[in-house]
Amino acid sequence: MELLANLQLGFGVALAGTNILYCFIGVLLGTLIGVLPGIGPVATIAMLLPATFVLPPVSALIMLAGIYYGASYGGSTTAILVNLPGEVSSVVTCLDGHQMAKQGHAGKALGVAALSSFFAGTVSTLLVAAFAPPLAELALKFGPADYFSLMVLGLLAAVVLAHGSLIKAVAMIILGLLVGLIGTDVNSGVARYNFGLPELIDGVGIGPIAMGVFGFGEIIRNLEHGQKREVTTSRVTGLLPNWQDIKQSTWPTIRGTMLGSFLGILPGGGPILGSFSAYTLEKKLAKDPSRFGKGAIEGVAAPESANNAAAQTSFIPLLTLGIPSNPVMALMIGAMIIHGIQPGPQIMTAKPDLFWGMIASMWVGNFLLVVLNLPLIGMWVKLLTLEYRFLYPAILLFCCIGVYSINNAWMDVLLAAGFGFIGYLFGKLDCEAAPLLLGFVLGPMMEENLRRAMLLSRGDPMVFVTRPISATLLVISVILLVIVLMPAIRSKREEAFVEDA
C-alpha cells in the first residue's frame, strides 16, 4: 500500500492551492496555443518556458506538464474542426473526426475525444505511479557503461519507431549529439565549436533549437503552402455522446489506452506511434472497415485515448532514467535543468514531492482538461476562425520574447533564427527533426558516461559487453536493428505510417 501513500503525497502536492492554480493556467494556456493551427506542443512549451521561471520548480514542472496536455488536446480540437492537425499525433484524428464534424457531429467528436482522453489519462497515471518506482530503483544500479548502452538503445529505438528514412534519422541523431557538444567541455574546460564567439561558450540552448526548428521553420512552411482551411464554424452542439456512442467507443478506448501506454514507454514511441497504431488496430478489428475515414466514432476514440496515454507514460523514462523518449520530453529535461533539477533515478528519492506531485498532477491536469474544454469549446472555435496572416506574426513575437527571456541573451534569438532556416532546409530534404532534438539532449550525457566508463575500464571497450546490464541493452539494440532491416518488417513499418495520411 506504499503506492497509495505515495499517491496521497502526490495529490497533496498537486492539489495545494497554488499548484492546482498553475496546473489550471498551464492547461488553459496550452490549449489556447495548441488550438492555433500550425503550432505544435514543442514550440508551445518552448515559448511558454520563460513564463515558469518565476515559479518554484515543482509548480513550474506541473505547469509545463499542464501546457503539454493542453497543447495535445488543443491539437485534437483543431484536427476535428479544421482538418488541420496542429501536430503529427492528431493526423489520424483528422481522418474520422473531421468527417464527423462535416456531418454535423462536431460536438459528439469533441466530446468523445475529451472523454476517451480522460479515461486514458486516468489509467496511464496509475501505470506511471505503479511502474516508475521499480524502474527508478533498477536504474540506480546502473554504472556509466550501462547508461551509455541505455542511451544507445534509446536513440536507436527512437529512430526505429519514428517514421521516415531510417538511415537519415540516424544521421540526424549523430548531428544532434554533435550540436549538443558545442560549448565548454566539463572535463578539460576547453570551449569547443564556439568559433571564437563568447556567447557560445555555454553551448547552444534547447530553447533556440526547439523554437527555431519546430516554431520558425514550421511557420515558413505554412506560409509557403498557403493555408487551405475548412473550418466547420457551424455551432458546436451536443457535446455529450449518447448511450449508443458510448457503447461503440468503450472498447476502442480501452484498447487504445493499452496500446498507447505501452508504446509511450518505449523511446521514440510516444503519442504519434500510439495514435497511428491504435487507428490501424481498430480498422483491422472492425466488422465494417469501410466506415473508417467516413466519420467512424471509433476512429476518434481509439487514437485520442492512445495518444493521451502515450503522452503520459512517456514521462516514465524521463522521471526514472532521465532519458527523453520524444522531443517534448527532451524539452522537459531542459526545463528541469534550468530549474536546477538533474533528471534521473535519484529524483524519486531525493525529491519525492516533485516526483509524486508531477504524477498526481497528470490526473489533475486531465480532469481540468475535461472540465475546462467542454464549456469553453465555443471560445476555441472562435480562435480557429482567426486568419493565419494575423496569427503567425503574433506567434513570432511571442517566440522572440520567449527565446530571449530564457537566458536574457540576444544570441539565442539569432541562433533561433538560424535554426529556423535549418529546420526549413531539413523539411525540404525530408529529414525528420525529432531525432536531432533527442540527440542534442543526450550528447553531453553520452560523452560523459562514455568517458567515465572507459576511464574505469582503463580504455578497454569490452566493458560494454562484460557488464550484464550493458550487454543486455546492447543485445536488444542489435536485435531491434536486425528486425527493422529485415525486408518483411521494413515494408510493414512503412505501411504503418502511411495509413491514409
Binding site: 513564463a51 549523430i174 554533435l178 557538444l181 567541455d185 520558425f216 506560409l223 513570432l396
Partner: protein, 163 residues
C-alpha cells in the same frame, strides 16, 4: 548529372551530412584527442564527426540507386523565409538598444510582409495590440527583465569599453 541522382532529397541530405560531419571532425582534430582511457575534448566529437560524414556519404550513394527513386527537392520560398527570419534577427540585435515597444511593432509589421494577403491597416492595429498585451503580461505580470523603451546608454557603455 541530373539523371544520375535518382533521389535528389536523399542525395542532398547526404551531402549536407557529409559536409557537416567533415566540419565537426576537421575542427575536432584541433582539440586534444587523448587516448581511449583518457579521452580529451576532441575524442568523442572526432569519432561522431567521422561517423556522420560516413553516414552522409552512404545516404548520398544510396540516392543514386534507381530502387530508391524519389521526388525532387522543392523550390525554396525565399520571400517568406526572408520576411520571417529577418525581423527575428533585428529583434535579437536591437532589443537591448531599442526596447520591446519598437522591436515588437517591427517584428509584427515586417513579418506580416511574408503573407501574400498583406494589408497595412489591420496589421498596425494588430501590432499595437500585441505589444500592449506583451508589455502587460511579460514585463508587468511575469516581471521578465526585458527593456521596454529605447536605452541609448548601451552605446555609451560600449564607448566606455573601447576607451
Amino acid at each position: 548529372m541530373k539523371h544520375l541522382i535518382k533521389n535528389p532529397r536523399d542525395f542532398w541530405a547526404g551531402i549536407m551530412f557529409l559536409a557537416l560531419g567533415a566540419l565537426f571532425a576537421g575542427v575536432g582534430v584541433t582539440y586534444k584527442i587523448g587516448t581511449a582511457a583518457r579521452m580529451g575534448p576532441g575524442y568523442f566529437p572526432l569519432v561522431l564527426g567521422l561517423l556522420l560524414a560516413g553516414f552522409g556519404l552512404a545516404i548520398a550513394l544510396l540516392a543514386l540507386r534507381g530502387k530508391n527513386a524519389g521526388p525532387g527537392v522543392e523550390k525554396f520560398h525565399w520571400n517568406a523565409t526572408f520576411w520571417v527570419l529577418f525581423p527575428i534577427v533585428v529583434f535579437g540585435i536591437g532589443l537591448k538598444i531599442m526596447g520591446m515597444i519598437f522591436m515588437g511593432l517591427m517584428v509584427v509589421i515586417v513579418s506580416s510582409l511574408a503573407s501574400e494577403e498583406f494589408k497595412l491597416r489591420p496589421v498596425i492595429f494588430l501590432a499595437i495590440g500585441l505589444v500592449v498585451f506583451c508589455s502587460i503580461i511579460f514585463v508587468g505580470g511575469l516581471k521578465l527583465p526585458i527593456p521596454l523603451c529605447p536605452d541609448f546608454g548601451v552605446f555609451e557603455q560600449l564607448a566606455a569599453c573601447r576607451v
